[in-house]
Amino acid sequence: MMLKSKRNELLAAAVLMAPFVIIYGVLFVYPTLRMVQLSFTNAPLIGDGKFVGLDNFIRLSRDRLFSTAVWDTIYFVLLSVIPSTIFGLIIALGVNRLKGWVQSVVLACFFLPYILPVSLVYRIWAWMLDKDFGIAQYAIAPFNGGVNISIFRTIPLFMPAVGLITVWWLIGFNVLLFIAGLRNISKELYEASALDGAGRWVQFTHITWPLIWPVTVLVLTIQFILQLKIFDQVYLFSDGGRADATMVMVQYIYKQAFQQNHGGLGAAASLVLFLVIVIFSVLQFQLLKTRGGEK
């Protein structure tokens, strides 16, 4: 009897785990190992190549385009993560004060862009900022002596513009997390401090800020890791065929592997991105774990 139920449990576990194990084996474990193997070869995108040792990594370290990709990725992360965290908190503080349907409508305004596909975000902002007919040119042109500017073809403006659009697009996520954090702060703390004569600013610096800090760290790390993997907006706004003046890491992988047919080099760049993100993810995991331990 005991033995039979043990066997049934194993059988059930095998059946229930099978789809997961098969899919992860084929689409996750194998491609990861294959990426490592390919990065040491000179293979094209499709087909085999010879083992070339560390050649691909040496090429990467000397490739100016790759260093552009690394620096632009870091630049983009700074341009998108920091403003979206700061404004996310400010917006959450504002929305959290509102009540009832007004709160729902205002929150929906900030959140709706987040769930829309990148293609719609791209079309909308390409139209807003269009050189000839974009409505935003009315606000931008005066700074350029009254002449309209092609934002996405002006190199120094490209990354800041895409960063700003990304903040507009994704801030709803941060706002949501901050509101959840603000709602977890006990009302009694504010009431007690009000009795002691604390003003808004004192309440913010002594209650809200310290208690929302863990959420801030969570938002910062999630966004940081997410934005390292940036591709969609940067690719779409650069209109496919532009010069290599701006480039992010995933775009570099795409260019090398899919456009130049350098599968091995693309895999090497992938491995670099892979390691960078895994290192930061482990740090994030440790950070959140120690935070959990303090509680």
């Binding site: 059930a12 205002v106 305004c109 791209y122 009302k187 491995l271």
Partner: protein, 295 residues
């Protein structure tokens, strides 16, 4: 709710000479105005895109700001629906997103249940693997996914679009956590009645967590619908494209038509916007769960 409880006590405590501050809260009023203004600014690009898509071409490029479509026309939408491949792209998006959602949920519920409730060799290793795969950037695997799927002749097929999107460790993690918190008594009672593991999963564990399944299904669908990078790489023939890829990669041969481009993009985002507006609470719950905050 809390406000109605606290107001009377505050009135008793606040000194009479400061009562005008209570009756008209200046800073609060300014904060509300700023928040509302922010919401309007945030919503404006979406509104402006919508208005433009409803204007005749001649009005779009007039160069003056008209905030409502007059005259109003659906020409851009009828063009998008009947003169482009939009219909095919819609069907492709629907098939790949629904298939992704169903497979991910079946796989995640089975694996989550097995890891949460069953004892089998390799259980701990699988759990660590899932937690670890959470950190791996799928973007780093694009090269080897492409190599793998072309070996199976799945490039330019809908199955090829679905494949790599099945890697969704968060879903397994969330299911496991929710199955962990199902009371043991429910399980023991059913086991006494002779239920096997599959009956336990489908008659108790899944129905008890029906809300989570709905929430996960909705965000998996939205994510699959919005996915750009992989469908963009896996498909080059127009008749296999998803909406998000089709609307950015296929251009009108006869010049730029802003209204038509916008109408096509808006149609592409419409399904997820509708899903979000109907299931707002579920969407926000699922997003917070995947960020590690219990909703």
């Amino acid at each position: 709710m809390n406000a109605s409880v606290t107001t009377p006590s505050e009135e008793l405590i606040v000194p009479a000479r400061r009562s005008w501050v209570r009756t008209f809260d200046h800073i609060g009023f300014i904060a509300t105005i700023l928040t509302a203004a922010g919401a309007v600014i945030w919503a404006f690009p979406l509104y402006w895109g919508l208005v433009t898509s409803l204007k005749p071409d001649a009005d779009v490029v007039k160069g003056s700001i008209v905030l409502y479509p007059s005259p109003f026309t659906l020409e851009a939408y009828t063009h998008a629906l009947f003169q482009t491949s939009m219909g095919v792209w819609y069907v492709n998006s629907l098939i790949t997103s629904v298939a992704t959602t169903i497979i991910v949920l079946i796989m995640a519920a089975g694996a989550g249940y097995a890891i949460s409730q069953l004892n089998f060799p390799g259980r701990r290793i699988l759990w660590w693997m899932i937690l670890a795969s959470f950190m791996v950037p799928i973007q780093a695997l694009i090269v080897t996914h492409f190599v793998l799927l072309s070996q199976f002749h799945l490039i330019n097929t809908l199955a090829g679009v679905v494949g790599p999107q099945l890697i969704a460790p968060v879903t397994v993690i969330i299911y496991k956590q929710f199955f962990d918190s199902v009371p043991r008594e429910l399980r023991e009672a059913a086991v006494v009645d002779g239920a096997n593991e599959f009956q336990l999963l489908f008659r108790i564990y899944l129905p008890v967590n029906w809300g989570i399944t709905t929430a996960l299904a909705i965000i998996t669908f939205i994510a699959a619908w919005n996915n750009f990078l992989w469908p963009f790489l896996a498909v080059t023939s127009q008749d296999k494209m998803n909406v998000t890829v089709g609307i950015t990669q296929v251009y009108d041969a006869f010049g730029v038509h802003y209204a038509r481009d916008l109408a096509t993009a808006i149609l592409g985002g419409l399904p997820v916007a509708v899903v979000y507006l109907i299931f707002q609470r579920r969407v926000t719950q699922a997003i917070m769960l995947s960020a590690g905050i219990k909703g």
